[in-house]
Amino acid sequence: MKVLVCVKQVLDPTGLTVNRKAEKVFINREDFILDTASKAALEAANDLKRAGAAVIAISVGPERVEDGLREALARGADRAIWIRSEGGDALVIANLIAAAARKLSDIDLIIAGHQSLDSGAGELAPRLAEALDWPQILGAAQIDAGEQGVTAIVQADGFVQVEAALPVVVSMLGAAYRGSLANGWRLMDAYKQWDVEAWSTSELDLNEDDLRPLTIKKEDAFPPERQLGMSVRDVKELVVMLKREKVIA
């Protein structure tokens, strides 16, 4: 079984300060780390290696993405592919990865993260499934896979067990990450012995439309501050208030 794992980096939240009053996010330290949901995806894929699966990690973005992919190798991926691209929204990224999956030709299962720490849009997996015309399982807490298909525990209204035949796109919850740490020896090998394959967008079978973002970001804004409720000492005071506001007679 060949598994493709989509990983992405996010800004390390410990390097950010959010000032609600000023409605600003301050980037005190710009460090990129692998998103937790990506780590969960890698962890799930690594579990499947025991059953003989081969794991390919893939990521889209500028040069710093290479470090994320080397970490993916340290976390068990057998191969790492970097699609060199600056910018692009979820649709573009999905198109790129779909094209890569087609190029790799015998991918049985794609695992992505569900709702990353930064945007949390959860768009990649559905758009990938759409582009490839594969079924999708979103927000999995646990998966198991074999030649017959994928069984997943998904957080819906409570937890539900879902099944699908291969090939399928699955997104893993960040909360599913059990904390399997990257391996030190593999990490050193990832930098000194192994390669990250760099693919440019022109190598992929895509046209200009596929690479045009659908969304344009206009601005960042904080949600409006919620007014805290009021507290009343007793029922008498509540009744007085309700009468004053003419809610009751």
């Binding site: 740490l181 030190g184 020896w185 990490l187 050193m188």
Partner: protein, 394 residues
């Protein structure tokens, strides 16, 4: 000059930080309260390769060099001094003496298990009457056929209670004293099932003011047999190996104290931003502002010193003087920083329910072990005066 760490070193730091925050931090309080090392955390650290960070890949290490090892100690030191002491004694002195002094056979025999953390190492030098004056050790190694018989005791041995492999310095010729009369050995103190090997007796755990999560004990040897092939370096020249090991160990002790200083600074900033008195956060008080500025300036200077010294080591340049400075400055800066961190918390910094309070009790030892700061000053002065043609003795 390129002051950036290499990308693999940055990646290594990320790996160790995740370990330190997710696995180590939750275990520190219990380790302190129970005075027991967190063995499950030790195991996890070993599984991901942290027990052999600087040693070459061919021996099972990570091959990350002295710089990588400094990163390890800094990240661990940020979270817990006790654990930094366990892993520091294991890598930096216990295993390091075997690596520096051992021939190929010894390295191939002992390093893989030590690098994988399957076995823990300790460094056995100090004795009751031989502290700063390491040359006055008494533990005897008497040649008998193709073995040596060890008799005597060692004191203050970090990891003493749990180590299965130790580097030990013994007197092989009492008449010659330190220069020519002492030999270093690698010995096995626990066998496969964890029982002490014959002739070895681990003593009771020392009760200490801090560093409760790092077990320290006296150990004794009675008719303990070690094969002659286990000599590290040359017979009679054991002091060279041991002093070399201590020299290099100082750099990474500096890195651990750097981590401690950084943690103190971070804690102080967060507390001062939060805590209000006199109608404003402490951060708006000049006394507090000056404290954090001083902490940050000292920490920054220490960081440059430590990583430059690591660079000297990794590039085979002389580093002994600088290593001593790392240990000397680092220990004093860390003590000052943690003192400021608890001071800013007022009475709360005196409560053992508070993480930083533990840091306060743990930090003090750094000015004493691995060569007291008085010895460091003498050694540095010795190096300096040698440069102008004067020889001084401790």
């Amino acid at each position: 000059m390129d002051f950036e760490l290499s990308r693999e070193h940055q990646a290594l730091r990320r790996l160790i930080r995740e370990f330190a925050e997710e696995e180590l931090r939750p275990a520190t309080r219990c380790a302190d309260r129970s005075a027991q090392p967190p063995l499950d955390v030790v195991k996890k650290a070993a599984e991901i390769g942290l027990f052999g960070v600087p040693f070459p890949r061919e021996y099972g290490g990570l091959g990350a060099g002295e710089t990588g090892y400094c990163i390890l100690m800094e990240e661990i030191g940020r979270v817990d001094t006790s654990f930094a002491t366990i892993i520091g004694a294991h890598i930096g002195i216990g295993t390091m003496a075997i690596y520096l002094g051992g021939n190929k056979q010894i390295r191939e025999k002992y390093l893989p298990d030590l690098c994988s953390g399957k076995k823990i190492a300790a460094f056995a030098l100090t004795e009751p009457q031989a502290g700063s004056d390491a040359a006055s050790i008494k533990l005897r190694a008497t040649k008998e056929g193709d073995s040596y018989i060890l008799d005597g005791e060692k004191m203050w041995i970090t990891n003493g209670p749990m180590a299965s492999t130790m580097s030990i310095l013994a007197v092989t010729d009492p008449a010659l004293g330190a220069r020519g009369g002492a030999t270093a050995f690698v010995i096995e103190t626990r066998n496969g099932d964890g029982a002490p090997t014959e002739g070895f007796t681990p003593g009771k755990h020392e009760h200490k003011m801090g560093l409760h999560g790092s077990p320290t004990a006296a150990i004794s040897f009675d008719n303990f047999r070690v094969p002659a092939e286990n000599v590290l370096g040359q017979v009679g020249l054991g002091f060279v190996v041991f002093m070399q090991t201590l020299d290099i160990g100082r750099v990474t002790l500096g890195a651990a104290t750097l981590g401690g200083a950084e943690a103190s600074l971070q804690q102080t900033l967060e507390w001062a931003a939060l805590r209000e008195q006199f109608g404003k956060p402490l951060a708006l008080t000049q006394s507090i502002q000056f404290m954090v500025a001083d902490m940050a300036a000292e920490t920054e200077a220490l960081r440059s010193l430590v990583y430059r010294t690591a660079w000297l080591v990794d590039n085979q340049k002389p580093f002994i003087k600088e290593a001593g400075m790392c240990k000397l400055l680092g220990s004093e800066i860390a003590s000052r920083c943690v003192d400021r961190a608890v001071q800013v918390m007022g009475a709360l910094g005196y409560s053992r329910d508070v993480h930083m309070e533990r840091g306060f009790r743990d930090a003090r030892i750094a000015e004493i072990f691995e060569g007291t700061n008085e010895i460091q000053r003498i050694l540095i002065a010795e190096q300096l005066f040698r440069e102008v043609g004067v020889r001084i003795r401790p």
